[in-house]
Symmetry: D2
Subunit: 437 residues, 4 copies
Amino acid sequence: MTTLSEQVLALQPQMQRWRRDLHQFAESGWLEFRTATRVAETLHKLGYHLQLGREVINAEARMGLPDADVLKQQEARALQQGALPQWLHYFSGGFCGIVATLETGRPGPVMGFRVDMDALDLNESQAAEHLPQREGFGSCNPGMMHACGHDGHTTIGLGLASVLMAMKSQLSGTIRLIFQPAEEGVRGAKAMVEAGVVDDVDLFTAIHIGTGVPAGELVCGSDSFLATTKLDVRFTGVGAHAGGKPEEGRNALLAAAQATLGLHGLPQHSGGVARVNVGVLQAGTGRNVVADTALMKVETRGVSNQVNDDIYQQALRIIAGAAAMYGVEYEVKLMGAARSCTPTQPWVDFVHQQAEALGIFDSVVDRKAQAAGSEDATYMMERVKQRGGQATYAIFGCELAAGHHNAKFDFDESVMGKAVQTLATLALNQAQFGGGR
Amino acid sequence: MTTLSEQVLALQPQMQRWRRDLHQFAESGWLEFRTATRVAETLHKLGYHLQLGREVINAEARMGLPDADVLKQQEARALQQGALPQWLHYFSGGFCGIVATLETGRPGPVMGFRVDMDALDLNESQAAEHLPQREGFGSCNPGMMHACGHDGHTTIGLGLASVLMAMKSQLSGTIRLIFQPAEEGVRGAKAMVEAGVVDDVDLFTAIHIGTGVPAGELVCGSDSFLATTKLDVRFTGVGAHAGGKPEEGRNALLAAAQATLGLHGLPQHSGGVARVNVGVLQAGTGRNVVADTALMKVETRGVSNQVNDDIYQQALRIIAGAAAMYGVEYEVKLMGAARSCTPTQPWVDFVHQQAEALGIFDSVVDRKAQAAGSEDATYMMERVKQRGGQATYAIFGCELAAGHHNAKFDFDESVMGKAVQTLATLALNQAQFGGGR
Amino acid sequence: MTTLSEQVLALQPQMQRWRRDLHQFAESGWLEFRTATRVAETLHKLGYHLQLGREVINAEARMGLPDADVLKQQEARALQQGALPQWLHYFSGGFCGIVATLETGRPGPVMGFRVDMDALDLNESQAAEHLPQREGFGSCNPGMMHACGHDGHTTIGLGLASVLMAMKSQLSGTIRLIFQPAEEGVRGAKAMVEAGVVDDVDLFTAIHIGTGVPAGELVCGSDSFLATTKLDVRFTGVGAHAGGKPEEGRNALLAAAQATLGLHGLPQHSGGVARVNVGVLQAGTGRNVVADTALMKVETRGVSNQVNDDIYQQALRIIAGAAAMYGVEYEVKLMGAARSCTPTQPWVDFVHQQAEALGIFDSVVDRKAQAAGSEDATYMMERVKQRGGQATYAIFGCELAAGHHNAKFDFDESVMGKAVQTLATLALNQAQFGGGR
Amino acid sequence: MTTLSEQVLALQPQMQRWRRDLHQFAESGWLEFRTATRVAETLHKLGYHLQLGREVINAEARMGLPDADVLKQQEARALQQGALPQWLHYFSGGFCGIVATLETGRPGPVMGFRVDMDALDLNESQAAEHLPQREGFGSCNPGMMHACGHDGHTTIGLGLASVLMAMKSQLSGTIRLIFQPAEEGVRGAKAMVEAGVVDDVDLFTAIHIGTGVPAGELVCGSDSFLATTKLDVRFTGVGAHAGGKPEEGRNALLAAAQATLGLHGLPQHSGGVARVNVGVLQAGTGRNVVADTALMKVETRGVSNQVNDDIYQQALRIIAGAAAMYGVEYEVKLMGAARSCTPTQPWVDFVHQQAEALGIFDSVVDRKAQAAGSEDATYMMERVKQRGGQATYAIFGCELAAGHHNAKFDFDESVMGKAVQTLATLALNQAQFGGGR
């Protein structure tokens, strides 16, 4: 019988192929049509029970969905690039989520692992020294690039699926692998949670690679995520000739300017880190016209859900008041959201102990003081914890060619094997876990 | 029988005494207690029928009334300074208005003349070269000074009363002399109009001296007044320790800052001149406390009532919206108002012709392009015109020691005689007027 | 010998063809490549002496010029659409100006007539009831449409050229026809003035059709144009992750918001009408990034050059201060400008008298109280007046299918004949003019 | 030989008298004239070597000093209320600081203890249930009240002086007692540090009572103070009649409004807690006048000196830019400042161990998560640490009648004895301290 580490070693070439294929056909959030069909096909062939599309994605809970024509166009593009038609209809219309389940038939907890599949809205570097270009797997989709490592995450999910199925006889309980769309902009997890995909999960683990954690280090329970809300605000006023009849206008641009200054004045909170950013403001149609429209792309963040919610509620008040000042209409559209979430310590401890025992990491730590990002796996962690389960977020350090969200981002592919080995170990040894319910 | 010009000449010393007495005991708007009792006594002795206080002042329509304790305190001060108790009770509580009527018994129109009685909130210059000081009639009331010439206006009203009563036999119709409080801040006229004091006036004339019109010139129909609204805006929020619990505050100062910027962005109007000014802003109690209160003193102006009303309505929207942005309460208090108003041309023509015939002016003109002030006699003009009457606003040019509202303001007292002679002439010759109803 | 009116009548079909050809191949400001070659060819064939391109356009004084690649691309487009290569090289690079001169050989003044040639940045209506579509001459250039009548103006210029050449023997002095590019956005006139094209003009007339003047009416000396300055303001800050390192950013969007509120607070001026508009604001690149760039499209206006200059100088101060507040760089780019300008009364009187004598107008008036637009022919009028000449701006009323700058704009083509007849009459009868030098 | 605890017990009545006398004659910051003379007299009689006034207060480093006339007036008031003339001249002009030194003659470190003496600008409650009123020692100075417990601190200093002098034979090294003025508004400490009063201190302890720490608890090393800067900003523009000549004004109120919104947008910093507050804004003189003056009372705070300095530097930029926007002058006046400061752990440990051994506290802790206040003893701690010394800030919990800065504030006087006993113990046992140099 081959050991886990032998299996992972043998799987390495396949994982590299998977990853590079995903990288080459990078697909942005809610548009992972080709990706999802490929993932589904692989899991299906491995023998997993699949739940797909609308079954695992609550339609109403999707945030920041592209327009219908973009969805249609990109689905067509995916077909041309090798999306498998027999699976594509499940995902059509922006439902690119997959949950793969392995029932061992032996009593035991439900273990959930979550990976994400979407690329970023970014043009990949064409530079010769950029490895994906050199090796010929640079993104062929303009404006879409796997610059955050989700191609690696998806591959880790597939690798984990492979080794767990191969070692099925040594497992007990239930294995559930969750492949999530639209993590960028924290748009997709909520819709999967609302569809109930983690409702019966007892032991939940989400992962990321890189993020500044040094190569060789494992962070077992990252807790530095800020709660966040992303909103698009559209003010609609009345245009008028600015020279001739200025008083007939209702100025959406001025409403946006006042709202912007009001919003940036919000983040002082005794509860800890609070943030507001009006990152984009687009207003008006012509120099000599009272602007009848303004769009603001806004985000709030908070060290806790409470702080973020406080800031968000105040932001809504600011926006409504600014609209009232100028007699303009406004619409607030939720474009994304994530939660702050503390991992459960017993499960962090177990991950820590198992990882250390593996002997493949230079350093294993619980947490890391990090710059303030957000992550929507927190919605899943929160739901699991609310229902009494254990949950953590693990980060596998690795060498990066450039920082995340950079056009020259690339990662050392060897991290994928380490991640698969670690996560599989958790599944194989979960009976040793004493914590939880 | 003495001629009008002889009478006016004889009255000159008395008019100087009246004016200097009023100047010395200068009283600000709604506080003209001593002034009003003196005026009433004089008119009463002359034989006029008097309507006083609440009979000629609509209590609810008073704007910018001082606080009750100020009214009480100043009434007491007036008594000490020689207010006549037998008349004072009519004016108690801020009702210092007088209407004096002379019924000739002969058929004819009702002629209304309006003068104002209030001083400014200003400390009079103590300089030796300032004539009122040199001659010993500088204001004895700190913070109150006749720096706009209303002491002269009141004296003109008394002089006119004297000569008209003396020449009663040559008059027909009805003479009505209106002595108004609180013109500064355009606070008093509306309350007299709402009490009906000009409802039956057929031929109405209000006057001013100075205002930049050169000595020797008469402006027969000034039409340059801007409509205006004066408002006090108070925002009430919630205080909080700015370091410790900033999120518990509701910041009235920030609401006021946003409102201020919004208000100053209003005055672009195709209808013509429009103005907004936030002249005073007072907010907050301590450096380290989220400000729970803010007071703004605001005015809007417009070349027409329509423009002013447009700007005012937008201002209310700006204020309400700014309050909503910060979740603070707000209160808007009307502190004063005046109208734009065009004199009726037939009456202006008659004034022009009569004044020219007198031969006492170097120049007689219809109107003057002037800097943009406001005047609440416009409320009376508007009412008279609405009911079919004729109305104008005349300005008697004269030499000034310093500009209006200046601590060294003083005027050449000889203008008073000219004004009395002109106004009396209108009354004596009104039968020649062919215009109007 | 045919009379002027017979000539104009005979020219009507040709003018319709010219106008419809220009309309179909509408070209926006500085891009009038095809138009200019066609105009040059026609004038050349008529026998005019031509000055073209750089000779009549000062390169440095051009405002709001499109980018070099746009110029290149549109020049290529023009060639494909029938621009005449033999003339095109004169205009290459954004120099589409033409001055055509007819020396009569007889002593007399230099008469200047100015028309403009550019279309608007607008998509023409595709509606069946829109006459240019119905008749098959709708614009074939997307985003460019003759929606202001400059196709008519150019045609009037060509029609005038035709009849004047035909009646050359009856003329004296010099005739100068000026075909100007880029009037929209008031960008082109200044460059022609700086090239000296009106320096020796004694009697100057610019024209417009429509603008709300009723059909059958001629306005001989429109003076309602506001002085104006158009500016693009670009703030350049430093981006930063808004959640992670907000303090490392320098926020160009906030600078723009503050500047916007400051700018809109400027227009209160005792000199008369003043305007500011921030019509467009585009800032930021991503929701979670401190915005490092912001672009504002701004205009100031004033009833006089003085008022506009005052407002403009204050605007520059506001912009510089707002940049300083946030430590961001800024650049102000002049995109257009026009002057206020009063026509010279003697010339207005002459136009009035000649036009009335023609008997083809229902109504001939000097001026019209109009909504507040701007026009850069004022630069030419100002220069002519500065050098002692006479100048006016005439508006030929006509029926419009929809307002100017509307996608369904169209005008009754018969106005073109009336304009040609009137302008030619001025030339033919100029010897009767007694005013001027 | 009496023990320390017996001595403290015996001193209790005297301490109560001292405290109540100080409370009754409450004196605000820089005005502690009577207080300082009484303290000096007591220390002098005890036999301490005194340094007074200018010797221990650097004149230029004083912040937020009242105006010269206030200083003069209050010094006169103090004399009338029993200030001792023989000491008063040292403190005249705002130099109410005292340093008392006891040289034991035996080798050992310099131990510094710092207490503060100033009252708050607050009217003390007149309520019968307010103990100081009931017992007849309510403040007799209107607008000044010991509502923060500094009367207790000064008394602790005097009590400590008494027992240490009594037990002088058991001490070694040098004892230095520092009585500081003007801690409220964090104005006084810097001036004492700049005068060098802690330059040779090896073991430094500052104290506070109350602050929400429960009765019976001692916090040995409070580290929750925020660095802070207090600034007054004055904008000076040009007034103008808002209706007549608005363009002649330079609006200081608008500059302040823009600055306010800019300032409140600053506090987002990855370094941790950051705060800005514009707590007071006073602008303008009249409703119809363009405001020519505006005063803002501002504070910045930061979890570290670095963060506070960052915010402060940005605040200066915002202020300068806002002034530039409106062409107004501005002046920034430093009104107070304090530092963040971490106690040195060895000295905290020693305090902890000694206090616990006393057996008089229910609970002894190192630190406490507290609301974000500021304290200028941090300047002394910083200096001591920079020179290699040990420093801490201890808080003695006690029952309060109402919160600090409340008009009904009062504290359980028994805490004074506990504090004296603890601090004296540190002095008596300092030889046991192994840390430090």
